[in-house]
Symmetry: C2
Subunit: 539 residues, 2 copies
């Protein structure tokens, strides 16, 4: 028997309509390449999205066509998000930090029709435009007066393109399962793979993450997403803010600039900000050096990588609560969020820190489990570590144009590629990547835990741990270290330093010093390259 409730579809259009109607005057403040403080609001932004929608119609696109963006966080990118998706096209955000070959691969694989590009990335596109097989033209996100000289073919100026368009548009009625956005993972192996979000998955992620134990935004908030809009939709906040009336403060190209971030916080009364650890490191370093305070800033969500304890403690000194969130491109992205249970607030500081540094508890809507190598579910006891698997209506089923890919397991779950523990209070902690975990004597050693311990030594600038084949133990850990300039620690000193900090059998067999450790385009340590570098190393 079917219920008799309305069939209204879950679409991004409904989020836009809501904000337009209920919070027309809520501000959107942007730093752009040509304006240090552009001020707008939801009503203006959505009026411009409607102008854009009219302009897109004139380009003769088909429903479902992919339109790419290469852009920082600002109001024009915001307009593109809504104008493209609500028109029935797919907003394909490309990470401009990728290597040119990757950008070319991604744009061709996605069959992008047009590319909307910030002035700063025009040279990058000029370099690859002849390899772009499906792109019909380019739109530079600027005004006529700031339009750069360019060799790009069939190029438009964004402001000119939308200027004469009417600001009314009849948005199509969309199926909630239709695609709205596309984002490629910059995996460490193989070609990038595309996650094709639907309107439904996006709305449900927005509603799920707006719950009180997660982002929990409201019209009282002023939110600064320092996570890029080309990285999993800025963790969804572009939708969360509109669904709640939160003010948006976009830092534009000034993502890693502590001074700009601090002044944005203070001038726009930002109380909630989002970004990766390096961003907050830049902010806290600036605050310390300059003696500046950020009193309005209450909460910061940190994700994308583990949050170092030192960073969390440094932010504590500025009365900013860091909250760890965890997810991935394939999860829209959020799966867990870290808020403490009431009784944990009464714990001694160090015990509290143990919980605060974990990846957090599940958000309702997502399920998770940890399993051993045979696929048996492991207990939530904080000790057993296993492959972390998830499922839910905002988790990827298969990759774009790879419908038969292994994105999900036979029973419908998605293997995150992470190894994790979950404690009895539901707090999950990532201990490693599945492919980086070191199998020693039938047990697993967490390379991340060993690295974190080694990073605690003052002479270590960067440390990475990989497994190396071992005749007796299958694998044994090898510690690879970049010395801090001007220091010269010995291997015995570093290995000795680890004693008492990690299990005795986790202590690496050996330590080698290198000039630099290889990184991926997104700044993560490339264990794949590191293992290749040490492929001839033997115990």
């Amino acid at each position: 028997m079917r219920g008799q409730m309305m069939d209204d579809a879950l679409t991004i259009t409904s989020i836009m309509d809501f904000a337009d109607r209920v919070f027309p005057n809520t501000e959107i403040v942007s730093v752009t390449a040509d304006n240090p403080r552009h001020r707008s609001n939801f009503a203006e932004a959505f009026a411009r999205s409607r102008k854009l929608a009219n302009a897109l119609t004139k380009l003769g696109l088909q429903a479902g066509d992919r339109l790419a963006t290469l852009a920082w966080n600002d109001y024009r990118h915001f307009e593109l998000y809504y104008g493209i998706s609500c028109s029935g096209y797919v907003c394909h955000t490309i990470n401009p930090r990728l290597f040119p070959e990757q950008i070319t691969y991604i744009a061709n694989h996605a069959e992008d029709q047009w590319v909307f590009v910030d002035v700063a990335f025009v040279p990058l596109l000029e370099q690859v435009q002849d390899q772009l097989e499906t792109v019909k033209g380019f739109v530079v996100l600027t005004s006529a007066e700031h339009m750069p000289k360019t060799t790009l073919k069939n190029v438009h100026c964004y402001e000119t393109l939308i200027a004469d368009q009417p600001d009314t548009f009849a948005w199509p009625e969309l199926d909630e399962n239709s695609a709205c956005a596309l984002c490629y993972t910059s995996g460490t192996t193989g070609n990038p793979k595309g996650v094709l979000y639907s309107h439904r998955s996006t709305v449900l992620h927005c509603m799920g993450t707006n719950q009180s134990s997660s982002l929990s935004l409201s019209a009282s908030d002023s939110v600064m997403p320092v996570v890029p809009m080309f990285h999993v939709n800025a963790w969804g906040v572009v939708y969360n803010a509109a669904a709640t009336g939160a003010k948006l403060v976009f830092p534009g190209p000034k993502m890693g600039d502590g001074e700009t971030l601090a002044s944005l916080v203070n001038e726009e009364q930002v109380d909630f900000a989002m970004g990766v650890p390096t961003v907050w490191l830049a902010l806290v370093n600036y605050l310390k050096e300059s003696g500046t305070r950020v009193d309005s800033l209450q909460r910061v969500i940190v994700g994308g990588a583990a949050c170092p304890e030192s960073l969390m403690r440094a932010m504590d000194e500025f009365d900013v609560a860091m909250q760890v969130g965890w997810g991935m491109t394939e999860m829209s992205p959020l799966g867990t969020y870290n808020t403490l249970l009431p009784w944990m607030n009464d714990l001694p500081d160090d015990e509290k820190m143990v919980y605060r540094l974990k990846a957090g508890r599940l958000i309702y809507g997502v399920k998770m489990r940890i399993v051993d190598e045979e696929g048996n579910e492991l207990p939530w006891d904080g000790k057993a570590s296993g492959r972390l698997q998830v499922r839910g209506p905002w988790v990827c089923k298969s990759y774009y144009k790879l419908e038969d890919s292994d994105a999900h397991l036979p029973d419908g779950w998605f293997d995150t590629g992470d190894v994790a523990t979950i404690d009895k209070y539901g707090y999950m902690a990532i201990t490693d990547r599945t492919k980086d975990v070191i199998k020693s004597g039938g047990e697993w050693i967490s390379s991340i835990d060993v690295e974190n311990a080694a990073m605690g030594h003052e002479d270590v600038q960067e440390a990475a741990v990989i497994g190396v084949p071992h005749p007796k133990w299958t694998e044994r850990p090898l510690l690879v270290v970049v010395k801090r300039p001007g220091t010269d620690p010995s291997k015995e000193e570093l290995l000795g330093f680890l004693e008492g900090k990690i299990a005795k059998w986790w202590i690496p067999e050996d330590c080698v010093f290198v000039e630099q450790i290889p990184h991926t385009a997104t700044g993560k340590v490339s264990k794949k390259d590191l293992r290749a570098e040490f492929s001839s190393y033997t115990y």
Copy 2:
């Protein structure tokens, strides 16, 4: 183009699984007829729901069968909610305060197969059991030792029924559009009509109302639903609590007992409670008389009827913030919720009160509009008043077994039957019921506003205003008053009292005194009966 995200269904089962896994130890505290403080938790409750599911299977039911409850808020009713809906049956909550004929009509119309009943309502069912056409038997919600003597046929004891069942059960994979619950509106005209909720509508209502500007529950909350579980699923809180890990405190049959409510708040550290104005009036009266405080109580949601200003101010004195919510059975029920915008907190007290008393702002997921008699949309200016219409995925499309009913308008919207204004900040205020509004000289007079003004006179115990045909103005208001015992105000005094409080042309033509004003089964003034009573009255 379809997105490639998982198709996981939005089901109540997923809420249950979440709480069972993430918050097994979160408490459920109940007052029951036979135990002043029954203590349980999510893990225990859901284990008992699984025992119940096994017992239901043995009863030989079909998917979609309706199972009725006549029960107060306690842990057994909680188990029924999940055990019935997640098994694929429909949990049909019946209001035991209805007249016996209405209960009979409702049970027969729903074709209920079994009735789960509190001991207190056994006599009521004994009285009507011979008229129940489809009911196969009864289950009394108690233990063997408290089982009453009864003439009910084919009667079981709940605890005996589930005692020997296994506490494992393979919940069926349900279509998210399948029906999960049924609730009849006790309309003031015609027969009661059933709203048939789906798993999808219930989950979306839960996610929508758990956002930060609405109920905003979290694992830090201890929640007391004083709104009955037979009234629109206790405003959904049974699901909201499970999806967030909030502790539940059920007052059982002690709904209107200020002393019990106060002691539950203090002993269980309740910080959030939900109920109609009369409940909070009972609480505040008790607090004043006894000198008791309720320091843990932070927020109270008040709905079901307009919140009197005097009540809100009285609760303010106890540092309890009253937040108005608005909705209806056809809306699952919530549509708007009142939290102030940041700048409103700086307003002088009286101006702030104007906003606080309104029905609040839209919750994302629901749309609303006000229209004039020709269906033209009216502006959100706080002045224009019109028919209030809503739509969204948790709004009723049609009534049960009345698929062709007028539940929705031709364009898919639902007419609430209310007349409302919406101000430029999105705050909606109900000014009347459509059928009670008084049409005078082409304009509308809000009977509610006139009543509220009249109720401000100290000699008025109760006041109601109806429209009476008028040769020149179409209708003119008539004020009907019950005098406070021991007082004897004149009609001239009361009508004079209204001057300056409402528009001059809103002042009733006449005032009549009565011994009592007729009420419906749910305690609302029955304007229909009042109009019938004064059908021969003429100007």
